[in-house]
């Protein structure tokens, strides 16, 4: 166990501070993704069935008032559906940006070493190079893993919205 923790510690140290930020960002991103997934798969069903039952219980399902109320119900549920999906998408977009930041800070370190020790002493530059490459990789991993989750959530939310609109219908007086 301690070896495992030490391996993680060494990895974060070779990656530098930016890697910690990326790790935190990916952690938050996946928390939000899990929260959304749970909502879409479990809690949303309860809300949906409650809303449909409420709608079915109404007598008037054709007037302007009914139309407005239907719109209100659908809107409330769809706002709850989308929830933090835009933030998740923003986080996915930020992952490569943070990776780039890590790249640049690492390269700055490499050039600092060059400025101090003159020519290319590969051994002293290695730490800067690893600080440049590891965050880039981490950012890419975060973005790639997040992109699929975010697209899936988006699709789920959209299909649920159309389901709602199909389930809560206006009676037209033929």
């Amino acid at each position: 166990m301690t070896e495992f923790l030490e391996a993680i510690r060494d990895f974060t140290e070779t990656g530098g501070q930016v890697l910690l930020v990326i790790g935190l960002l990916i952690f938050v991103m996946w928390l939000l993704i899990l929260e959304r997934a749970l909502y879409l798969l479990i809690w949303h069903k309860n809300f949906k069935s409650a809303a449909i039952a409420e709608w079915k219980a109404r007598e008037d399902r054709s007037s302007w008032y009914a139309e407005q109320i239907r719109q209100k119900v659908i809107s409330r549920l769809s706002i709850q559906l989308s929830g933090s999906i835009p933030i998740i998408q923003a986080l996915v977009a930020l992952c490569p940006l943070l990776g780039l930041m890590g790249t640049v800070t690492g390269m700055i370190e490499v050039f600092d070493v060059m400025a101090i020790s003159g020519s290319g002493n590969a051994r002293s530059m290695a730490s800067g190079v690893s600080k440049a490459t590891i965050p880039t990789m981490a950012g890419m991993v975060g973005a790639l893993s997040g992109v699929f989750a975010a697209t899936w959530l988006n699709r789920m939310a959209k299909s649920e919205r159309t389901h709602l609109e199909d389930a809560i219908t206006i009676k037209r007086n033929a």
Binding site: D60, W64, Y65, A66, Q68, I69, R70, Q71, K72, V73, I74, S75, R76, S78, I79, S82, S84, P86, I87, Q89, A90, L91, A93, L94, L97, L98, L100, M101, V104, T105, M107, I108, E109, F111, D112, V113, M114, A115, I116, S117, G118, S119, G120, R123, S124
Partner: protein, 454 residues
């Protein structure tokens, strides 16, 4: 011709005669006396001439003898010169013979002394940089002196000296495998010298009081590093000093101090930001401005959202939130039919939306422009770097590296501003959109529900 001669002679005689008569009035004026006088004059003349001839001859003889002497001298010199030349040639042969003999006798020793000199020089440099010299000073000075003596004069190293080189190398080797404690003067970070107990770990590390020390071989001083590595390394150093023989974990710098030295030279955050120059400061100012705007929006939107949620649940209409103000429309136009009401509602909603999405575009723009400004700084920095290259050539990477790291700092600053701005924009946009959705899609529904309840 003869006539003429006679005439001149008579004339002369007459003239002489008359002259004598005039000059020597007191003398007897007779021809005999004159004749006698002439004779005497001739006699004295010839006497003088003889004397002069004699002097001349004498001088000539003298000159001859001097010439003779000089010639003799020259011959003698030539002879000695010849002698010396032959001696010189003989000596050359002798020298060559002797050198050959010396080489023969030295044999493998000659190589040995060359190697010894080289090893002494190398070991001296090693001792200058070795941390063990903090414990055992003065080793390098002896080796330095020995190497110089062997290089400058023909003096050979004595057996004692050779054995001492061996001893010093052996001692360095043995000591580099030991962890020892000793007392020495340490220059603290504040600048004062104190005598401390120092722990030396082989040739790799010097620690005291949980702080890593740096040994300067040229001055022979031990100083605390101004910037220490991470705390857990310092703790491990303190643990090592407190331990008495048991195994402890300890972090050491295998390069013998150069990695720890880089720690000191690495610029801190403020120095980094200063490297960014004017462009960096502009990016930071813009970022701070964007952050203030975003915070203002965050507070306002959170408050508005809470009020709207309350309004959705409560029955009485309050005018302190956009939803309440829209619901008021119904009360103002109680007799309007549904179409007119919808128009009034749309109007009211259009009035509320801009208040909610105010400044969001500016935040979005800042999140987009910040990396671009960073790029601008990068390009200007690179221009400076290339100017340095045109002026000084590419010989010194230090000149170029400074400009390049300056150029990259602005990129970092641009990203540092852009990343939180993008996040904040996403959050704020979601919040304001949700409120707008509530107004656009739920306000009329709320009115309908209230109408149904009567």
């Amino acid at each position: 011709m003869f006539k003429h001669m006679k005439f001149i002679a008579v004339g002369l005689a007459a003239a002489t005669f008359s002259f004598g008569a005039m000059a020597q009035n007191d003398r007897a004026l007779d021809l005999d006396a004159l004749l006698k006088q002439l004779e005497e004059g001739q006699f004295s003349q010839s006497q003088q001439n003889k004397q002069r001839e004699q002097e001349f001859m004498q001088k000539r003889a003298e000159q001859d003898s001097i010439l003779e002497d000089t010639r003799k001298q020259r011959d003698a010199r030539l002879q000695t010169s010849e002698q010396l030349e032959t001696q010189f040639e003989e000596n050359e042969f002798k020298l060559a013979d002797l050198n050959g003999a010396l080489d023969d006798r030295l044999g493998s020793l000659k190589e040995l002394f060359g190697v010894l000199q080289q090893v002494a020089g190398d070991t001296k440099n090693k001792f200058y940089n070795s941390m063990i010299s903090a414990q055992i000073p003065g080793r390098a000075a002896f080796l330095d002196q020995m190497a110089q003596e062997m290089g400058s004069s023909s003096k050979l190293a004595s057996i004692e000296e050779i054995e001492r080189v061996w001893f010093e190398m052996q001692r360095e080797m043995t000591e580099s495998g030991k962890v020892t404690k000793f007392n020495t003067n340490v220059v603290e970070a504040g600048g004062q010298k104190t005598n401390k107990e120092v722990v030396r770990v082989g040739p790799f590390a010097l620690v005291a009081d949980g702080k890593y020390l740096d040994f300067n071989g040229v001055t022979g001083t031990v100083a605390e590093l101004i910037r220490q590595p991470a705390d857990r390394y310092g703790d491990s150093a303190a643990e090592l000093q407190a331990s008495s023989g048991e195994m402890v974990e300890f972090g050491l710098d295998p390069t013998g101090g150069s990695i720890l030295g880089l720690l000191v030279q690495a610029p801190n955050l403020r120095e980094r930001i200063e490297q960014g120059g004017i462009v960096g400061y502009i990016i930071l100012i813009v970022g701070a401005f964007g952050l203030l705007l975003a915070l203002e929006r965050l507070v306002t939107l959170t408050l508005v959202k809470n009020k709207v949620n309350k309004q959705l649940k409560s029955k009485e209409i309050k005018e302190n939130n956009p939803l309440g103000r829209i619901l008021k429309v119904r009360e103002r136009h109680p007799n309007a039919d549904t179409e007119a009401l919808e128009l009034h509602l749309t109007e009211a909603i259009l009035g509320e939306v801009p208040k909610l999405s105010r400044n969001l575009t500016i935040i979005k723009i800042i999140s987009v422009v910040a990396p671009l400004m960073g790029l601008l700084g990068t390009v200007t920095g690179m221009i400076n770097t290339f100017q340095a290259i045109t002026l000084f050539g590419t010989g010194d990477p230090k000149l170029m590296a400074g400009g390049i790291s300056t150029a990259l700092v602005t990129t970092v600053l641009g990203l540092v501003v852009a990343i939180p701005m993008t996040l904040l924009y996403a959050m704020l946009n979601t919040r304001s959109k949700n409120i707008v959705y509530v107004l656009q899609e739920q306000a009329s529904g709320v009115i309908a529900e209230r109408a149904e309840r009567g």
